[in-house]
């Protein structure tokens, strides 16, 4: 009687131990192995195993007293004839007290090979009634598994079902969570930040680290407001965003943010409130994408459009005043139409030169003069009447190109109509070079026509008015240029000293 009582107490203690273990472990394999160990001890058999249904087979999922090549590896086909299949099919224990006299079921050969004489099969049923598999207790000597043993095994298998079910759920949950982590951690393009209800950072995913420069260690525990620019913080944008997400569940977050190193990053994203089962806000998740490039491009485009607007108005202003100037110096409408058409052509060539420039590039002086000479049909070269002599690398200030072109255009037109480009045996030489003065680079140009038969002294030379005004008045007025315009006995002599782009000095320094 005492022996029975002791056994009962021992079995109850083992059941309680197993319950404790099962509650603390989230590993199905650990729990099943412990289940085998405890049931073997409770049944005093040294051996026990759990068989899991895998399609039409049973896998020895866990076991004690069984060789490592069997546990986790051995697959038993589930034929209808076996005791295992019968037990599962009928959802009841099947006991074989001595396999040598067993006539109901054929037994798998590995049991006999292992010296198993007696065994008990108890189905493990999951909540809902589906079978997970079997708990199998094996003894190497004949046993008389009695009713107490059978009931204990049933009880044991009954609590195993829900435990396994819970571990399945944990596994599924973990794999969803792992999938989530895997996905978001791989998404470096997206900054993902989770905060608590006070908007303090609790999760900082690698995309956030890549975007903002703070490591997870540095970011977690900080207020999410650190990501806002000082000017947004000053007007409470960070509070407004959280409050909107809290009230409406969602708040757009499309603005410049600040990185750890103080540089700015444009984020296109949103903030969403996280709620618990009762609907209480527990925190926020912020997801955004770094669209700095796109934003900068858009802002640059805005500037360019404004600049284009300005230039267009400016150009209309230039055309307007050109028309007025030309009217003042035209004999009749025919004369006006000719001169005005040529000048508009020069303005159009300037636009063409400027339009071809990349960011930071400048029109070079040689391009300008070659363009204007070509527009009046003058060939440049050893056998021609034009000599050009100067460095090719003279970057002009863009603001000066318009007026300088008009001035050169007038010089070319006059040379073609009256001077060196018209008369045989006359010659035009244009020399230029860079000088440094008052800490800035200047272009010095010498325009000299020679061999020209000039009008008699005192007679007003034709057509020089506009060109002369541009050179003597407009260039000095607009750009601080120093200029001379002299009618020598054999042709026009004109000098220009004009400030040019600072790039000119850089390039000279580089070549020195």
């Amino acid at each position: 009687m005492n022996g029975t009582q002791d056994l009962l107490l021992k079995r109850q203690r083992l059941l309680a131990d197993f319950g404790d273990f099962a509650l603390q472990s989230n590993s199905l394999d650990d729990v099943l192995t412990e289940a085998c160990r405890i049931i073997a001890e409770a049944m005093d058999t040294k051996r026990a195993k759990v068989l899991e249904i895998r399609g039409n087979n049973l896998l020895v999922r866990a076991g004690v007293g069984w060789a490592p090549e069997i546990v986790g590896h051995l697959l038993l086909p589930m034929s209808e004839l076996t005791s295992e299949s019968f037990s599962i099919e009928h959802k009841q224990p099947v006991i074989t007290n001595d396999i040598r006299v067993e006539t109901r079921f054929p037994l798998p050969p590995f049991l006999e090979e292992a010296g198993v004489i007696a065994l008990a099969n108890v189905p493990i049923l999951l909540p809902g009634g589906d079978a997970f598999g079997l708990l199998q207790v094996d003894a190497t000597e004949p046993r008389d598994f009695n009713e107490d043993d059978t009931q204990y095994l049933r009880t044991y298998a009954t609590i195993l079902g829900p435990i396994i079910d819970r571990l399945f759920k944990v596994r599924d949950l973990r794999s969803v969570e792992e999938q989530f982590r895997f996905t978001v951690e791989a998404a470096l393009d997206y900054a993902i930040v989770v905060t608590n209800k006070d908007d303090v950072i609790t999760d900082w995913l690698p995309g956030a680290a890549a975007t903002f420069g703070w490591s997870a260690d540095e970011a977690v525990g900080q207020a999410a407001a650190i990501l806002f620019t000082p000017e947004d913080r000053e007007v409470g944008e960070h509070i407004r965003e959280v409050e909107t997400a809290r009230k409406e569940g969602y708040a757009p977050d499309v603005r410049w943010h600040i990185r750890k190193d103080g540089t700015r990053v444009f984020i296109d994203g949103f903030s969403r409130a996280l709620r618990d089962g009762g609907g209480e806000v527990t925190g926020f998740i912020k997801i955004g994408r770094d669209t700095t490039d796109r934003q900068q491009w858009q802002e640059r485009q805005k500037v360019l459009i404004a600049e284009l607007q300005h230039r267009t108005r400016n150009l209309l202003g230039v055309v307007h005043s050109l028309a007025n100037q030309t009217i003042l110096r035209s004999k009749d409408l025919r004369d006006f139409a000719d001169k005005f058409g040529e000048r508009i052509g020069a303005v159009a060539r300037v636009q063409g030169l400027l339009a071809r420039l990349e960011e930071g590039e400048r029109v070079q002086f040689h391009e300008l003069i070659e363009n204007e000479l070509a527009s009046v049909g003058a060939a440049v070269g050893e056998t021609s009447s034009v000599t050009l002599d100067g460095p090719r690398n003279v970057p002009l200030r863009s603001s000066t190109v318009q007026t300088l072109t008009l001035a050169i255009h007038e010089l070319c037109t006059n040379a073609l109509k009256y001077g060196a480009l018209k008369q045989p045996n006359a010659h035009l030489t244009v020399r230029w070079h860079l000088i440094n003065e008052a800490a800035q680079p200047w272009l010095s140009v010498d325009w000299r026509e020679t061999g020209v038969t000039m009008p008699p002294q005192g007679a007003l030379p034709e057509g020089t008015g506009t060109g002369r005004e541009l050179i003597e008045q407009a260039l000095p007025y607009q750009f601080g240029a120093r200029t001379t315009y002299v009618m020598e006995h054999d042709g026009i002599h004109c000098t220009l000293l004009l400030p040019v782009s600072q790039q000119a000095r850089l390039e000279r320094d580089r070549s020195e």
């Binding site: 404004a306 607007q309 300005h310 108005r313 400016n314 209309l316 202003g317 230039v318 307007h320 005043s321 050109l322 007025n324 100037q325 603001s399 007026t403 541009l470 008045q473 407009a474 007025y477 607009q478 750009f479 601080g480």
Partner: protein, 121 residues
Amino acid sequence: MSEGIRGSKILVVEDEYYIAVELKRDLETQGAQVIGPVGSIVGALALIEASQIIDAAVLDVNLNGNDVFPVADKLVARGTRFLFASGYGSRDIPARYSHIPRIDKPYAHHELVRTVEKLLG
């Protein structure tokens, strides 16, 4: 000839030579005495220093890429009325000048005259 403009001293700040020349001619046609024209901020500030009386000023907003606002501030300080002429629209004019009259470039002759008359009015 405009009665409102005749005899008044008007500062012209404009960097485009031809526009400056026309502005001067337009104002002189109305009987004004033009101070300038001048095309740089430094030059404009010096002219303001040197001129005891300036009744009004016409300021081009952009002088070779520089904002004319230091000149505007100096005129505000001495209580001189002025107008902005701008090819930019109002975008680049700070809010503190929102009460300053403005004409958009290119402007018609009569538009300029009317706005200057109002300034002097």
